[in-house]
Amino acid sequence: MQLTVWTYEGPPHVGAMRIATAMEGVHYVLHAPQGDTYADLLFTMIERRSKRPPVTYTTFQARDLGGDTAELFKISAQDAFDRFKPQVMLVGASCTAELIQDDPGGLAKTLGLPIPVVALDLPSYQRKENWGASETFYQLVRAICTPYAPPSGTKREPRPEGRRPSCNLLGATALGFRHRDDVREITSLLSQLGIDVNVAAPLDATPTDLARLGAADFNVVLYPETGAQAATWLKRTFGQPATNTVPIGVGATRKFVEEAASLAGIDATAFLAKSSSRLPWYSRSVDSTYLTGKRVFVFGDATHAVAAAKMATEELGFTVVGLGTYSREFAREVREAAKLYNVEPLISDDYLEVEAKIAEAQPELVLGTQMERHIAKRLGLPCAVISAPVHVQDFPARYSPQMGFEGANVIFDTWVHPLMMGLEEHLLQMFREDEEFNDTTPSHLGHRVKKIATVDIAPSTPTAEPIAVAAMPTEPAAMTKARWTAEGEKELGKIPFFVRGKARRNTERFAEERKLETITIETLYDAKAHYSR
């Protein structure tokens, strides 16, 4: 058993729903107790989908458990077929139905439906949402494409002369972080490069589309979390190579273009010479100088977190002070990346642990999920969202991809915007002695800043949200701290709020190491000089 407050991922059957809902012509019959229908609202409310997810739940109750839940499943599946007339049916069990072992796959087979039925075996007590999405997409692709597969060992025919190269875009799902816009951006980018998109799936694809997957020259894996498993099977079965680079960031997009061009057997030089993003110039313009070395903490799914860390470092000139993911399946990739930035990788789906690590790292910007946005709000830190789990805000009305050159523009704005306001905040603080300004000058960070300061001064002070204290096990309250003199404290107050916490910590550590009893203005500046080296 694991004590869990908030979760980054739902159960694996929600992953299966993300595939079914992304597609047309697929219906998912889920053996599940009453109440599991809550998952519909993720799609209708968060993503504002105008259609119900194509899911029929058996919604069994206690009285059914004594009777025949298997019969209930068969009735539900038959009714769903009659009403929705899907091209393909997915059948499976949610966590509770898994325990009663009714075998939805076997039961569906007895119905003799005239369409392919794909039985999903998603172990709920072991796996999570992204794994469920990946497995479902893979099972669906395998079930639909197998009849079209060439005999094993057949060498792939070279593309006929004169035909434009084509690829599939794999991995975009319902409820994905900007998947809708990424597919559009990459489709357009590839088209300009001279490569057609044969099928983009699962988002907006039909089972008939999936049947054509084998026709493409290669696959583009947009989201390894959901698309890599299917791509691996397609490579094995149809001999289709796949891209390895996820085009998030200017550098990654250029590398992706080269990779795609090479797989397509075309020359990308001319295309790369004329296309780029505004990001490089915006990053080089003098206004961006103050971004230099900003300490960022990055957390998200593995693909977005690794990409964000690279962009933060190479394209915005930030310093990565923390990197982590909740995707255990991709922990290796994140560990590798963490080495580049010399940080300890954080592989965890324990929200409280993530909060503690962020508090400990004292970043100036958090790049995370909606969960980290809440953490950052409590800690009074600016934050930009880079990854699922998603929130209604992550489905903006405007076009805002993360991938490709336009994606890099979007990301520049998204990440720099909260910091711009940080600079504004700095100016307010600098001029606060001016009679035009005072402590009540409104801050976009609300009143959190003051609370955090309180926490710093006296870790035992109860606050409205004790988590700010409780989450910092690395800052033991018992630590013998040197006493701040009134002047020292006053001087500390003159330091901009977003570095004040760090200054306090450093000064106290400095004093402690030197066994100083009091901290004066001089101690503060001694420490500053010491740590600036």
């Binding site: 058993m1 694991q2 004590l3 869990t4 407050v5 908030w6 979760t7 739902g10 159960p11 059957h13 929600v14 107790p33 009453q34 109440g35 599991d36 229908t37 809550y38 998952a39 519909d40 609202l41 993720l42 209708t44 409310m45 504002r48 989908r49 105008s50 259609k51 119900r52 739940y57 058996t58 919604t59 069994f60 109750q61 206690a62 059914d64 458990l65 009714d79 009403r83 949610s94 966590c95 509770t96 325990l99 709920s124 007590y125 072991q126 999570k128 409280l352 909060e355 909606q370 969960m371 809440h374 953490i375 409590r378 929130h391 949200e465 004790p466 988590i467 700010a468 409780a470 989450a471």
Partner: protein, 429 residues
């Protein structure tokens, strides 16, 4: 019984017997009882709700709660994993470990609910024994109780019922036989305070609310306790209170000006408050609420309303909309119809209203689309798809999260229905 007769006389109707009810079996698009934790943890401020369940349970509560306003809310899930199921780890030992971890982290917890879920029920994890065991371990610092919020046993608001019912045996016995009024069902604090002020003005000096705001402030119960239900979904709680000797006061629910007056009247009559005093306390407030509602009547009169089953509040709210705002009821669906607790409400409904209990959501959607009501009251999973079909909707979950009971909130309740129509009339896109 006198109180009931006087209510029926007051509104000028006779009981109209059994009504036909449409019952269908199929997919039920409803939350399970775990959802109640979302408001219960705000109400009893030193209680903690530990769901013993799956990742789905944790995901459900998180999704229903909508946003993570609280860093560490007063609820969490002990997620069962494969080691527990494979018997590699003894579930009870694991639960004890998780509870120890939780209580070490949250020393302010005084009352811990172990909340059963579908998986814990199916694997027959005995949470009542676990609660007894843990109560002994942590006595007297923490009391540990258990109830089931599982979807196989409870629908949405039945979770509150199960929670309160499990709390009843902990209520201290009432020492004297002095009459006492107990208001039963979670109300927001502002509503509770308004009712309390009116009860004091009636001259009632022993009025208690259940659940209390603090776990250490449990009301006594016993012979002499007369209780008023503030919520229509408290079947098991009512039974448990009656086993302790409490007597239910028959009344409609305090929704709308009329509902509130009749609800208060049931208490006033039971405690022998004379009519002059009753009028002195309620007349002005009733008139103010009724007048305010009058402004919405123009917007809502004649509007056709369709209720999908959700919270069991459907029937009292339908009664309010029909009688005080002149709405026409197309279908009133409820997940469960408690004829006894709703007897006065049912009598107040128009004679020809179509009631449905339980659900086959696809067939009900067919009926709704066919009827094309002006407002459809439904859950969050259905609202946007219906809007996309051109039907105006009201999310039913808001009816639970918004204070809607009492005189001062009657207008807010009407506003919840008027706003979607207002929006429709404004938009030109």
């Amino acid at each position: 019984m006198n109180a009931l007769t006087s209510i029926k006389t007051a509104v000028g109707i006779d009981g109209c017997g059994e009504r036909p009810v449409l019952r269908q079996r199929g997919q039920r698009e409803v939350f399970c009882g775990l959802t109640g934790i979302v408001w219960l943890h705000r109400k009893i401020q030193d209680a903690f709700f530990l769901v013993v369940g799956s990742r789905t349970c944790a995901h459900l509560i998180q999704s229903a709660a909508g946003v993570m306003i609280f860093a560490e809310p007063r609820f969490a899930t002990a997620i069962i994993d494969e080691r527990d199921l494979a018997g590699l780890a003894d579930c009870n030992e694991e639960l004890d470990r998780v509870v120890a971890q939780l209580l070490a982290r949250r020393p302010e917890i005084k009352l811990l609910f172990l909340v059963g879920s579908c998986p814990s029920e199916v694997i027959k994890l005995d949470l009542s024994r676990a609660a007894q065991r843990l109560s002994q371990t942590y006595d007297p610092r923490v009391r540990v109780l258990n109830y089931s919020g599982s979807g196989i046993e409870t629908t949405f608001t039945q979770g509150e019922d199960a929670c309160l019912a499990c709390l009843v045996p902990s209520l201290p016995p009432k020492i004297d036989a002095k009459p006492q009024l107990l208001v039963v069902g979670a109300l927001s604090d502002v509503v509770e305070d308004q009712f309390q002020r009116m009860f004091i003005d009636f001259g009632l000096d022993d009025v208690r609310f259940f659940p209390p705001r603090s776990a250490n402030d449990l009301p006594a119960v016993g012979p002499g306790t007369k209780y008023l239900l503030a919520q229509p979904f408290l079947t098991d709680t009512a039974r448990a209170l009656e086993e302790r000797g409490a007597v239910r006061l028959e009344a409609p629910f305090p929704l709308g000006a009329e509902g509130t007056t009749l609800w208060l009247k049931a208490a006033a009559d039971a405690f022998g408050i004379d009519d002059a005093r009753f009028q002195a306390v309620t007349a002005t407030r009733h008139a103010r609420a009724a007048e305010a509602l009058g402004r919405y009547r123009a917007d809502l009169a004649g509007k056709r309303i369709f209720f999908f089953p959700d919270s069991q509040l459907e029937i009292p709210i339908a009664r309010f909309l029909a009688r005080e705002l002149g709405c026409e009821l197309v279908e009133v669906g409820t997940p469960y119809l408690h004829r006894q607790h709703l007897s006065v409400e049912l009598d107040l409904l128009p004679a020809d209203v179509m009631l449905s209990e339980g659900q086959d959501v696809d067939k009900q959607l067919d009926r709704c689309r066919e009827a094309r009501p002006d407002i459809t009251v439904c859950g969050l999973g259905l609202a946007n798809p219906l809007e996309a079909d051109g039907l105006t909707t009201k999310w039913s979950i808001e009816l639970l999260f918004t204070p809607i009971q009492g005189y001062e909130q009657a207008i807010d309740l009407a506003g919840l229905f008027a706003r979607p129509l207002d929006r429709q009339s404004r938009l030109r896109v």
